[in-house]
Amino acid sequence: MSRYRIMGKGRVDHSAPVSFTFDGKTYKGLRGDTVASALLANGVHLMGRSFKYHRPRGAVTAGSEEPNALIGTSRGAGRFEPNTRATVQELRAGLVTESQNKWPNLSFDLGAINDRAYMLFSAGFYYKTFMWPKSFWDKVYEPVIRGAAGLGKSPTEPDPDRYASRYLHTDVLVVGAGPAGIAAALAAAQSGADVTLVDENPEMGGSLLSDPAVQIDGKPAWDWVEAQLGRLRAAGVRLMTRTTAIGYYHQNMVGLCQRLTDHLDNPPKGAPRERMWRVRAGQVVLAQGALEKPLVFDGNDRPGVMLAGAAQTYLHKFGVRVGDNPAVVTSHDSAWYAAFDLADHGARIAAIIDTRDAVRPDLLEAARKRGIKVLASHTVTTTTGRSRVKSVRAALVRGDTVGAGHDIACDCLLMSGGWTPSLHLFSHTKGSLAWDGQTFLPDRKTEDCEIAGAGRGLWGYQPVLADGAAAGLRALAGLGRAGHDACFTVGNDRPGTGVTHTELPTDGNAGKARAFIDFQNDVTAKDIRLAVREGMRSIEHVKRYTTNGMATDQGKMSNINGLMIAADALGKAPPQVGLTTFRPPYTPTSFGAFCGYLRGETFQLTRKTPIDPWAEANGAVFEPVAQWRRAWYFPKPGEDMHAAVLRECKATRASLGIFDASTLGKIEVAGPDAVEFMNRIYTNPWTKLAPGRCRYGLLLGEDGFIRDDGVIGRLSPDLFHVTTTTGGAARVLTMMEDYLQTEWPDLDVWLTSTTEQWATVALNGPNALTMLKPLVQGVDWDDFPHMSCGECTVAGLPARLFRLSFTGEIGFEVNVPARHGLALWTALMEAGKPYDICPYGTETMHVLRAEKGYIIVGQDTDGTVTPADAGLDWAVCKAKKDFVGKRSLSRPDIVAKGRKQLVGLLTEDGSLLQEGAQIVLDPDQPKPMRMVGHVTSSYQSTMGHPIAMAVIEGGFDKMGETVFVPMPDGVRKARITSTVFYDPEGLRLKA
């Protein structure tokens, strides 16, 4: 039996010992323990080192608000988690844990030198100390600070666990299963409403589990809880434990993170570790209770100093006496009960030190009966003890005068500065708060929610239960339902009040006091006052300057103390200073829970073409393009990418290449007004385009900049087959729909996406026509020149055939229904054998098009390029009165001189430029240089030298001139040329 465990006491299973390790040492705890309660049962208070000063720290709470006792936990390979709160992590067999922020070990830590040098590390220390020399920041200061900073170690391996995700619709969601929450759920459930009750702890009951002597309706608290949970279950209420409401979002959506396996010795194989619930509730009842505040005095952070309520919880829930000889310092009645309970379980209370002048007579009497020394009107000025508190110094306060202190020996110090209602979720909804003289309470609501119990400042079980029931009824009324009022009779109630302090008065040097407010970020009262002295006026600035409340606990314990001291320093009332904003999540939440199923292969869908299986079977290397995976190139054994691409390019130029172009966006524009619609949307003229012919189409935004392009065929007077860029398909359709629905609803036009309905195979090369002809039926070849289209059969398959070229060679695009795509590809590969048909991928497609100066929208254009800038003026029909973007083409900035224009670039030394490289006119000018453009496309070509395209200011007037391209390995000299590098006369298309 562990030294501090009380036989048979608590809700732990005394017959089920559980072994675990902490910093390599094996300890025994009990089933039902947390790591913190098990360590405390073994007399271990020192659980970690603080973040900045590396001060020894122990658990200060017994719950999820814990700032100090952060540990690393390991559940095997890839399952290391830093910053787990020891007060939350349940014990299970074989759990491996370690302390953080220490080197070489927890009891002797070299980083603790920071603590001796604390005067150097005041608020704003980083901003002041590392200002100069400027060059030191990157190389010296930042690496050292980054190395020393950070809470815990990041895991280095991918998380092998699964995480689940669910939606839930419920009539009433009750957050918090303490007395108020249980009463609210009981009230709401009676009408047959769908009710969900959630609690972050493994067991429901809240504070009642730490107050077993309380009687409700004649039953001991624990029996009452058990009975009510049974009633709720019988009424069909959904009860969810280990489930934290992490955020409260618009229209009563609440995020719940449910922890499923971390407490299990042997989690079922494949079981999700956590499940994120997105709950849409008709009504929400917030019954989150209140969090106890520390008192602020020198040495309030030593191991062994903890919140009185936490000690009470360790005693009753876990059967652990946190010390044999505790002292108590408090400004609230609640700590007196903790002292009585500990005294009744074998602890010798050194003293109850109360800051208040007047204490309730019944409390004084109860203390006297137990022989406890009481010091009212006293302050605590310091503590002693390095890795565990040894004594506390108390002093009488008369008015502004602090009397002589005297030391009181103790082995732990229980403190209570009163209770802060948990306003986090309420604040997520932007609900307003009101100051009641002691703390902030919820005020104006923005959502359909009720706040009940200690969460709105009530204290004592009788009022809290009644309030919970009333909140449940109000929630029902909000749903248009009714229920009966409930009445609870509470025996042995523990009512209480208290006062809120700034830092406690001291007789010592206040400037030297290490009186902590934010334990996790090592922020002291002195830091807050310094921040105000140095000019911080807003609480948001004080917060950022001192980092108060910015640790992983988000100031659950520190916000109000920080506010009280800042307000005092500013000479303002607390509500005039205001509270910083609470943001989700309420407690740290794993990335896995947020990702849910959206990781790895299911992160984003991968679109595959009908021909993809052939590409995969034939060794294609793939690249992602938008959501598609496209064959990039087809390397033969021993080939690298460069060799493969060059071979594919040459084979296509020499004879015949075949390319899967199925990802091209396709939209059918149909209807009596189709041609009018096309005239308004695209820059080109469409009226005179005869059925059976196609044309390059250019699409602008209303601002005149290029948005998309593609070849468009007119299949009949009222039917256009539009193609778009692969990535632009959805955008173009949306844009067309927008104009059709909202600007020109009078046009009789239908728009249909057909991208996935057609498989598209491109054939290019001097032998393309010869090879294709015998396979086609239904085309009159005497009337099918370049830029023709028509419906026919190809290899016996129904097809839309386009004669066009994106390579400069004779070219075709054969569209067949997607289900025939693979059959078409196979037939063409077979028929192409005599011509050494060569499958090529997107890289070869890019090289071939660049050799001809054909642009890729989004690569050679960037949303600021007009048709004129790209040399595409010929595609703009000036005779049309209007089309989308036309008016913008005459705006002053668009017609101004000096715009960046798309040109070709050839390097003098024949080297390859980097895409994205900046271009300058004078490489010897001082830095920063004036950049006149950048390289948009750059490839090794079939012509024996690399080619590039670039946008350059006034580029069209600079033909033949030399520019410079600074790259990491030196400055390149390049000559401006036309963008058409290959067959500028277009002879090969006519061959």
């Binding site: 932007k430 949306t734 729909e737 927008d738 629905q741 600007e743 209007d882 002053p892």
Partner: protein
């Protein structure tokens, strides 16, 4: 996550099904060539940037329709939605400060 009412589907659905499409009731001029550079600039770029109720366009990706909405940019509440082409409705009384 907001719930948004699609006036075409007549159904209230999660925000994930919708995309924002800019300020509403800015009609494309019938004859852009008749506009001065300043007028055309205003049509292209100048927007209300309202603090409070804002008439704006949304698209229901599910049915593909564009519609109009009145949303309070402070509270992020939808005050109403209505079909494209309908006139701008007056502000609800309670939202007028």
């Amino acid at each position: 996550m907001l719930l948004i009412h699609c006036p075409y589907c007549e159904d209230t659905l999660p925000e994930l099904e919708f995309t924002y499409a800019g300020e509403a009731h800015i009609a494309r001029p019938a004859d852009p060539s008749a506009l001065s550079d300043e007028e055309w600039r205003d049509y292209l770029f100048i927007r209300t940037n309202a603090r409070g109720p804002h008439y704006e366009r949304w698209r229901h990706v599910g049915c593909g329709r564009f519609f109009n909405a009145l949303r309070d940019t402070v509270s992020d509440r939808f005050l109403m939605t209505y079909k494209a082409g309908l006139p701008r409705p007056p502000l609800p009384q309670e939202t007028v400060e």
